[in-house]
């Protein structure tokens, strides 16, 4: 039992880490693009990205399940072209989590970009620097608190995910069984003690990670 406990926690954090890493790569360019955009479609894109904030996760999970199932053209194509099965697999959980946690990464980073004085970017341009160099050397270093908030929230939110995973991942120990699902499962089986263990770990984790973000942001604000 103890082995399964650690296996489940390890899977939970591995999922969160992989998802967060990919979200850094995906979320920062999206946040950058939206913050610069003056298109009239910008509100639509923003709404789309923020949908997981208000939708029941089961809705997202349901449609992802339909889309990824071998019966759909997308699922069939993914499996044929890349041998990629996204239903009831770890890879599928990662993809679902990316959609689900995207706003938690994009929103803080986007507002970080938008709150940075535009003069800094313009000054960099007049100093002959390209957009990329300006992004890497001026913008990103000056929105560190926002980046940190985005990274931590995306990570923590993925750890706490339930509905999406239940829909597209199921409850396969060592593959798709994460802590939040294990809690539900153990309670169903009347194993309150084990459910309690999982729950306490998640509470301790959530509290310490949030306290850390606030502490670091406070220090950065003072230093800046």
């Amino acid at each position: 039992m103890a082995q399964e406990f650690w296996q489940t926690l390890w899977l939970t954090f591995r999922l969160a880490a992989v998802t967060t890493l990919l979200l850094i790569l995906i979320g920062i360019p999206i946040a950058y693009g939206i913050s610069r955009s003056r298109s009239r479609f910008k509100p639509l894109l923003e709404a789309l990205i923020s949908m997981p904030l208000v939708l029941p996760p089961t809705v997202l999970g349901f449609y992802l399940l339909l889309a990824f199932s071998p019966g759909s053209w997308l699922g069939a194509w993914l499996e044929q072209a890349f041998g990629l099965k996204l239903v009831f697999t770890f890879a599928g959980l990662v993809v679902g989590s990316i959609f689900y946690s995207l706003p938690f990464m994009v929103q803080p980073v986007q507002s970080g970009f938008e709150n940075l004085p535009p003069n800094l970017v313009e000054a960099s341009y007049t100093l002959g620097k390209s957009r990329m160099e300006t992004l890497l050397r001026v913008q990103l270093p000056n929105i560190k608190p926002s980046l940190l908030t985005g990274i931590v929230l995306a990570f923590a939110h993925t750890v706490g995910e339930f509905g999406v995973i239940l829909m597209i991942g199921g409850n396969i120990p060592g593959q798709t069984r994460v802590a939040s699902i294990a809690i539900y499962d153990e309670v169903e089986a009347l194993h309150y003690g084990l459910a309690n263990q999982y729950a306490l770990v998640l509470i301790a984790f959530a509290f310490s990670i949030l306290a850390m973000v606030y502490a670091i942001n406070r220090r950065m604000l003072r230093a800046g």
Binding site: P117, N119, E122, Y125, L127
Partner: protein, 289 residues
């Protein structure tokens, strides 16, 4: 030589207006642009820098066309040979003073320019500090030095001294003149401060509602040097304030403000903004050194 011809619709606080400017600036000139706020001064600078785009326009610097809307040419700010000092300095908070300057270095550019600029603007002692730990005047000097690292031919200054106190201003005006001469720059200064403008520039234009109005020349200060120590000075009335049975009139003469006591009937027709002539009858004059 810079040739500028620009048209751009603006939304000022007073409603929509059009900026329409035609201007030629000679090499080495120190041009000041004055005018009330919202008259389009800053926009004009931004258009020259390439940070904003006009509806219609043409900018040529020496033999190179920077902007020609008819031919769809618009060089990016990176490609224009300018240094720009922002009103709020825009220093990078994540870099020290020296790093702010080094950031501006071009690929393969000689780093000697950094030390040279640090010396000219007397920043040696501050070079390891971050902008948050600098005073306004110090930040201003860093911004000025940073704008010159790429050795631009044109220096654009947007209200560079407006946030500083009088003592600091005089000092920074000195730095600005120093680099203008040392690097043989063509400088365009946007400012609404008359004193600053007269002190620094070799030519002044005024913008009103987006149009260049009659270039206001520095008014001659000394109107007549009559005989026997009787002479007249011309200046602008800044303020009239009653003090007992007399009025104290503050007059701007050249770059200096003088306070003059006057009888109420003398000041009855004067109000701030008026030009006035002050006649002195010194009787005996003395030359001091």
């Amino acid at each position: 030589m810079i040739e500028i011809k620009l048209k751009k619709a603006l939304h000022a606080a007073s409603g929509p207006m059009e900026l329409a400017v035609q201007l030629e600036i000679a090499p080495g000139e120190f041009l000041a642009i004055t005018g009330p706020s919202g008259s389009g001064k800053t926009t004009l600078l931004r258009l020259i820098a390439g940070l904003a785009q006009p509806e219609e326009g043409y900018i040529k610097f020496e033999e190179r066309v920077w902007l020609d809307t008819a031919k769809k040419i618009a060089l990016r700010p990176q490609e224009r040979n300018i240094g720009l000092v922002f009103q709020d300095y825009a220093l990078f908070p994540n870099m020290t003073v020296r790093q702010n300057l080094e950031y501006a270095l071009g690929k393969g550019q000689n780093r000697k320019i950094i030390d040279e600029l640090i010396e000219i603007t007397e920043l040696k002692e501050l070079e390891k500090r971050y902008p948050a730990r600098l005073s306004g005047g110090q930040q201003q000097r860093v911004a000025l030095a940073r704008s010159l690292v790429r050795q631009p031919r044109i220096l654009l200054l947007d209200e560079p001294l407006s946030a500083l106190d009088t003592g600091m201003r005089a000092k920074l005006q000195h730095y600005i003149l120093r680099v203008h001469e040392a690097y043989q720059l063509t400088t365009i200064l946007v400012s609404h401060d008359q004193r600053e403008v007269f002190k620094l520039s070799s030519r002044i234009i005024a913008l009103h509602h987006g149009r260049i109005s009659q270039p206001a020349l520095p008014p001659p200060m000394l109107l007549s040097n009559g005989h026997n120590g009787d002479f007249q000075l011309s200046g602008e009335v800044l303020d009239i304030e009653a003090q007992g049975d007399k009025n104290i009139v503050k007059v701007l003469i050249g770059a200096n403000m003088v306070r003059i006591e006057a009888l109420p009937e003398e000041t009855r027709h004067l109000q701030p903004g008026d030009t006035t002539t002050i006649r002195f009858d010194a009787g005996q004059s003395e030359l001091l050194r």
